[in-house]
Symmetry: D2
Subunit: 260 residues, 4 copies
């Protein structure tokens, strides 16, 4: 039975990650399940045509549209850290937000949020100066945009300092350390491969704001938005199961700031 | 002596054409002379950092900012025609306008116009369907933007059909044919290399809306904006001389739609 | 029963067309069926890692390795014609051959052929000057390489004129016109979608050097190598069926110049 | 007066660093002064046309040709460190060597050496695993190629371990630390801006194999090749002065392994 004070959580997913002739992800199926979409802006994936089509699809499904801004690295899919300066991060963030904004605007809607992708996300989680430059780019474009960042990260702090609304992101399928940071991918327990376990983790995050760390400790964790992955064989099935489990628990699924 | 009804003309120039470590053009000097700037958007030149700096420089000089949208061809500097579909042209135009808009908006100003660059400009001058897709991208982003196109071209028609304000562009230093089209670069008389001759041609365009074609005929030509080139040894000197000659003739130099 | 004078034909396929995180084609399955592989060189698909892996796979299967050289257009997958100069075509061909050569050489093997891809293939089929520049790049790298080109095309002529061994390519699943050229994709009969019909066409090409044109005429056609496509749901099944049909007819399947 | 045992040193310079319409460096002037050229291979600078022209120019001047292999980062000119894997470094090195080899081979000459550029150079200087992968790529392409690396670096060791001939590189215009490493660019004394001082440092390196570190200590330093920079207002003048000073001291200027 839902609590009297209804809980709300967002489910976000990375979308529009095809490029040219190359296809990636089942965007239409995922858009039926998520409440917010992080759309690639051409730097790690996506091209103008794909951005246009992905925005149109998100509009059809009533899903909030975010710019998934990245380092400029198509071959590496934005997953390779690069030593960019804060000024470069500022400019590339602004560029990509603007590009996606154009498609949203032409489609009669507007951007809802910005989420750094891949290596830029990880760098901005721990590098306060870089995080600041990204947050300032978001603010300078539109101070009403939400900034999505890893819960407890420098990026979340930088967003607040820049006067932005921030959504703390949590992962159903990633292991956490006792300090609330993600278990590095090379360490044991980094990935939760059992669907039931991942859903249980997500439920604890959504209902209690807690997660059991890989060392067994219970950690407080702000979870405004849950990330589900778009690739992998079971991505869509998992997202559907997560959606159903949250709804069954009376939790409203909605993008941050949306009137549910 | 100036006519009682003061004439106005725009001088536009392609700017922000550096890329990464490579420098091109004397943007600061040119911005002191022109009334509108076509700023590269990353597809043929320009990168996010350079776009940010070029927009800041244009703001300092009070010059109208336009998106210089291009085919995606850095190596070819956007000068090689590519068989893009109208849908691709639409999307790439929207993308680039949005990217430059972000820098203009963050700098506290707004875009004034859009001008296709190089091969896309030439293709849009003669291909009505391509021209339409570009005009629609401009309109779908912001119907108050000006569209710059070759005088008498399909692009100018497409802009009008899309409900845009259009500026017909004329070239001081290019030879014209009797039908008002540009003399192809491989033909005799395609380029006017004498500065005095080019300025005389520009003056006839600005004052009388006429040009003497390479075959000696006088051709009517709408000239709302004169293009000056940013590269070449004498680019800045020529632009200054043109500016001075127009002012001396009592012609107001201002971006289309500007209150002079 | 095979004829006394055994016929030989090559089956070639475009491979290594993944890029970064994006996957395309079932290379391993196709390599079990074809006798020569056209490997993407990074300009329309492929990246250094994928090139390395694809070469290794081709070596495992004993398949002849060719450089699938392309216009520089990742987003368009090399399928958009671009107005490149002969000098540019020469240099981009040489560059890509060299890059693939490095992987072949490091893997202890050598290149067998060069085939232009997509738009460059089509342009080189009809533009003698462009074809010449490609043929000269191949010759200047290694005059013992085979050049693959559309049967009856300018590229085949240019290869011969440059002193190269040429393989005339025919398509099982494309309609032909009475002059031996391909029926344009927008015209009726351009694509043969029935597998049986495509195999019948291939058999006629391989056995008799003939094809029935879309207007019903029988056309003489040199067919040294048959192209099978790597993408599409039935690509592998079709390639296997073609392979089996050719073998059943006693036709040897081998790369041009190979000792069967 | 030259010593009886004549000393030999190489002067190398980064060349072919233009890209498309963008020009960088006075390659012809520098080629008249240096004994080996590191030619950009398209990843940080250079394109196929420029590589072809630069190779031709190097051949004209009888300068040894090396592949200047880089991280894939045109916008950052290969100067931004990227988290590439050893396998990626191996493949990108092989790719670029092959590409340049094609132009050298077509021009009737052959590659002499390989030198990583910018961020890849710095990363390979301190990361043994990355250095190994680069050295192995060089060896797998041609075990007779020289590998240029920072004197005392992991790259030099990796080259030796891979059985390559290595040239230890020293910088006339960079400050050194007491351990023989370069003074980081942000520290005092990192750059030697006085031409006379830089030439004095080069002379000490060439004649005595020593350099005075920023802390005043004298450090032993293997200096097989001196790097002169191609950009900057005084690049050519400095290279000429260095060349003249070395010759005046009876030191032979020649590429490693060359018969002077």
């Amino acid at each position: 039975m839902p609590s009297l004070a209804t809980k709300t959580i967002d489910i976000n997913c990375d979308l529009g990650e095809s490029f040219g002739a190359w296809h990636m992800g089942d965007d239409a199926a995922l858009l039926a399940v998520v409440s917010s979409a992080n759309i690639a802006c051409g730097f790690h994936a996506g091209d103008p045509d794909i951005m246009r089509r992905t925005v149109a699809l998100a509009v059809q499904h009533g899903v909030a549209i975010g710019a998934h801004v990245s380092l400029p690295d198509l071959q590496g899919f934005g997953r390779r850290e690069m030593a960019v300066t804060p000024a470069e991060a500022y400019a590339m963030t602004l560029y990509q937000i603007g590009a996606l904004h154009a498609f949203a605007h032409a489609a009669g809607t507007r951007l809802h949020h910005v989420k750094p992708h891949g290596a830029l996300y990880n760098m901005a989680a721990r590098d306060a100066r870089l995080a600041q430059s990204i947050a300032e780019a978001v603010r300078d474009f539109d101070a009403s945009l939400w900034l999505f960042g890893l819960a407890g990260s420098e990026l979340v702090d930088a967003g607040r300092n820049a006067g932005l609304q921030v959504a703390s992101e949590a992962f159903a399928d990633r292991g956490y350390r006792a300090d609330g940071s993600l278990q590095p991918r090379k360490e044991p327990g980094a990935l939760i491969t059992e669907s039931d376990e991942a859903i249980a983790q997500a439920m604890a995050m959504a209902r209690e704001g807690r997660v059991r760390a890989v060392d067994g400790n219970i950690v407080e964790l702000q979870a405004d938005t849950l990330c589900v992955h778009g690739d992998g064989a079971h991505a869509v099935a998992f997202a559907r199961n997560l959606h159903a489990a949250l709804e069954a628990a009376g939790i409203t699924i909605a993008a941050p700031g949306a009137n549910a």
